[in-house]
């Protein structure tokens, strides 16, 4: 059986990849996907813990996270479209009217 720590390390790596992606990537959609990666990293932790502790809450939590992520995706894409309409770009570095 794979030990718990393997899952946790993988989950941390996924989360860190997400953070790094957010910081490095320019495309808004990619940044958005990086957030999904972070969430999924967390989900892995939940499932791993739930299996280890033999508790249901972890599994339930994963479902809720997935639902919320879907809702976020819907709203997020709408916002991205609104930004694209006004700015005609998906480069996050150009979305900087508000500053200082």
């Amino acid at each position: 059986m794979v030990p718990l720590s393997y899952y946790l390390v993988l989950s941390a790596i996924l989360f860190a990849c997400g953070v790094a992606g957010f910081l490095i990537k320019r495309n808004i959609i990619t940044i958005f996907l990086s957030i999904e990666l972070m969430l999924n990293g967390v989900n892995l932790s939940f499932v791993a813990f739930a299996a280890q502790l033999n508790k249901l809450e972890g599994h339930i939590f994963v479902f809720f996270v997935m639902v919320v992520a879907a809702a976020e995706a819907a709203v997020g894409l709408a916002i991205i479209i609104a930004v694209f309409r006004t700015r005609e770009t998906l480069n996050v570095d150009r979305v900087n009217l508000l500053k200082l």
Partner: protein, 687 residues
């Protein structure tokens, strides 16, 4: 028995509400009637209350009225309530009495100004907060008044807000005071923490139980010093005095009421009110004495070289407040309050008389353009004369008795150095006040010729600049012009009568406290001293602590001798001023040239403003712009985040694009913060 003390502060508030909300539509006469009515009534009521108070038996003093619970949170509670003892009776009478006279005077002085109703609304608000301050029965309510008078003062200093200097002066006063206020506030927190209450009547017995903190400074010393910080802000003492000279940008009656007679004495009142704390904290009390004395001589030395008539009076106010602190510092609270009272009379008079001069000259404030005015402004001249003699400390005027009492207390309680500095300051006071007197009223009139008004226009323009709202500026200019073009003239009766009443008070006000050495009965001291008895703090234990009455065995002749020293120095100051500014008026010019550096330094007020600007304000703005804004926000974070950029071109390009406002750099902030948090928590967890 309830005296319904709450009515006293609420009356001016009602006046302010009526005038402030509806005054714009009222005719002037109605605004006047409301403003005066709602200040005369509290004065009348204060007199009635004082009469009632006199009838109370000693065990009914302090008379405390409780109206409602303000807040009660756990063990701590504060209430709306009033506290009447000898100290607050005197403060109440001074505030309402002098306040009323100045309101009357304002009717004449502000006649030509725009925003008339606003002015009186602010003035009435000030009265409300000041009365709350002196009548409150707990520190929290006192603090409400304390902040409130600061706010009113801010509004009134900036009243002529079209002048940028006036708006800036208001802001400076407010912010300087905030610094002091927070010292006071922390003192209150400490009181809450250790005593669990801010109510005077429950606080005094608790504090009384503490021993005097000799040797090791402790809690009460800390509280005392923090209170002193608050007091230096409000009462314009070193180091927070910088706002008061600038505050002279406000209308002259405001300077008289707020920046001379009442508000600035709030610090003295607070120290006197907290006498139980200071009695037990010799270090704090020493600090009060030293700061007061230093301020006294420091401000007096600046006052000597000012040419603006109001600036002289401003520095003199700072200096006189220094005396009051000195008195409190040597534990002669009675003397401090006595001087507070006489100072309220003669300093209010000085300001009002100066205002009358300024009014008569159509806005001229520079003494070099005055002179010989005693012919033109006889009533003003005579009242100013009495006030000048009073502040100079010449008998039998009011200032003599109070100042002498303070100096004698300083000597007799062993502070010989403070006494020496105080006496020298007395001589300086006499000198700069008579300088003002001679420059203004004697010699030839040095102002613009009444017929050729070329210079007069400047003064007019300045006066017009004093006006309030834009829409009023035209009228006011016309009005100011109409009387500015005439030769100097006496002020209307409505201004002169308050002058005469105050002159009378400046003459006889000190007679209430004629010391025993002059075969007086010191009725003032007899009346007030119970308020500072340790015993009065704990009504139940009247006999437990012995009253710290000064032993009568003091040598009366010694006291008399010391009086003559200070009177002699005052006379010397008079003679010097007479010699320099009347007999040989060309001398000061030459002396100034000879003394050069020192004179300039004095004229520049020791460059304190510049120092503050350079040391505090400038670095803060620089810090804000360069370090936090351009440095950390734009430079550091953006660059750190951009570290992954590969080639130089892209880096510089990115630098250009990556102003703050970039989402990724913001995420960088969050990530850095998160990393710090993670590192810290892991370290905490592992440890």
């Amino acid at each position: 028995m309830s005296m319904h003390l709450w009515i006293i502060p609420l009356l001016p508030l009602a006046g302010a509400a009526v005038n402030g909300l509806l005054g714009k539509r009222f005719p002037r006469a109605l605004v006047n009637a409301i403003a005066l009515g709602f200040t005369a009534a509290p004065f009348a009521m204060a007199l009635w209350v004082a009469a009632q108070f006199a009838g109370l038996s000693p065990d009914q003093i302090p008379h405390i009225e409780r109206y409602a619970t303000w807040l009660s949170a756990g063990a701590f509670s504060a209430e709306y309530g009033m506290y009447l003892d000898q100290l607050s009776v005197i403060m109440m009478l001074v505030v309402t009495g002098v306040g009323f006279l100045i309101h009357v005077y304002s009717v004449g002085y502000m006649e030509h100004e725009g925003g008339y109703y606003r002015y009186f609304a602010y003035l009435n608000i000030f009265m409300f907060f000041m009365l709350t301050l002196v009548l409150a029965n707990n520190y929290l309510l006192m603090f409400v008044g304390w902040e409130g008078v600061g706010l009113a003062s801010y509004l009134l200093i900036g009243f002529w807000f079209l002048k940028k200097s006036a708006a800036d002066a208001g802001k400076k006063a407010f912010i300087t005071n905030r610094v002091g206020d927070f010292g006071f506030l922390i003192a209150l927190f400490l009181l809450i923490k250790h005593f669990g209450t801010l109510q005077y009547d429950s606080l005094w017995p608790l504090i009384s139980r503490y021993p005097v903190e000799t040797g090791a400074a402790g809690l009460l010393t800390a509280i005392g010093l923090l209170m002193l910080v608050g007091a230096t802000g409000k009462s314009a003492q070193i180091p927070l005095y910088v706002w008061l000279p600038d505050a002279m940008e406000g209308p002259t009656p405001v300077s008289a009421l707020i920046h001379a007679a009442t508000m600035v004495t709030a610090g003295v009142y607070m120290v006197a009110r907290s006498h139980l704390v200071f009695n037990r904290a010799p270090d704090a009390q020493m600090a009060v004495a030293v700061i007061g004395t230093l301020t006294a001589i420091f401000a007096a030395s600046i006052g000597i070289v000012q040419t603006d008539i109001k600036k002289v009076l401003a520095y003199s106010t700072i200096s006189q407040l220094g005396y009051m602190f000195m008195a409190c510092g040597v534990l002669d609270y009675v003397g401090g309050i006595f001087h507070l009272m006489t100072h309220a009379f003669f300093k209010a008079l000085l300001f009002l008389a100066a205002g009358s001069v300024i009014h008569g000259l159509g806005g001229e404030q520079d003494m070099r353009h005055m002179g010989g005015l005693r012919k033109y402004l006889p009533y003003t001249f005579w009242s100013m004369t009495i006030a000048t003699f009073a502040i100079a400390g010449l008998p039998p005027f009011a200032g003599f008795f109070s100042k002498d009492r303070i100096l004698w207390s300083a000597w007799s309680s062993g502070y010989h150095v403070l006494w020496l500095v105080g006496v020298i300051t007395a001589g300086m006071t006499s000198f700069y006040m008579f300088r003002l007197w001679f420059l203004t009223f004697f010699g030839k009139y040095r102002g613009p010729n009444p017929e050729t008004v070329a210079h007069g226009h400047d003064a007019d323009a300045q006066h017009a600049g004093h006006t309030g709202a834009v829409q009023d500026a035209k009228d006011a200019h016309a009005a100011a012009g109409s009387h500015g073009h005439r030769s100097p003239h006496e002020s209307p009766w409505v201004m002169v009568v308050p002058l005469m009443i105050l002159a009378l008070l400046s003459l006889v006000g000190g007679w209430a406290g004629v010391p025993h050495s002059l075969h007086g009965s010191d009725r003032f001291g007899t009346f007030l001293s119970p308020a500072f008895n340790e015993a009065s703090a704990t009504p139940g234990a009247a006999a437990a602590t012995p009253a710290e009455a000064k032993p009568e065995s003091e040598d009366n002749s010694t006291e008399l001798a010391f009086s003559s020293i200070s009177v002699g120095l005052a006379a010397l100051g008079f003679l010097a001023a007479w010699w320099l500014y009347y007999k040989r008026p060309e001398l000061p010019e030459r002396m100034a040239k000879a003394a050069g550096g020192l004179y300039t330094l004095l004229l520049d007020k020791y460059k304190i403003d510049e120092l503050y600007g350079a040391v505090i304000i400038q670095p803060l703005i620089l810090l804000s712009t360069n370090v936090f804004w351009k440095g950390i926000d734009q430079g550091l974070i953006d660059r750190a985040v951009d570290g992954s950029a590969t080639d130089a071109r892209e880096a510089s390009d990115a630098m250009r694009h990556m102003q703050s406002g970039n989402i990724r750099s913001y995420a960088g902030w969050v990530a850095v913060g998160a990393a710090a948090v993670i590192a810290f928590m892991v370290w905490r967890g592992v440890r």
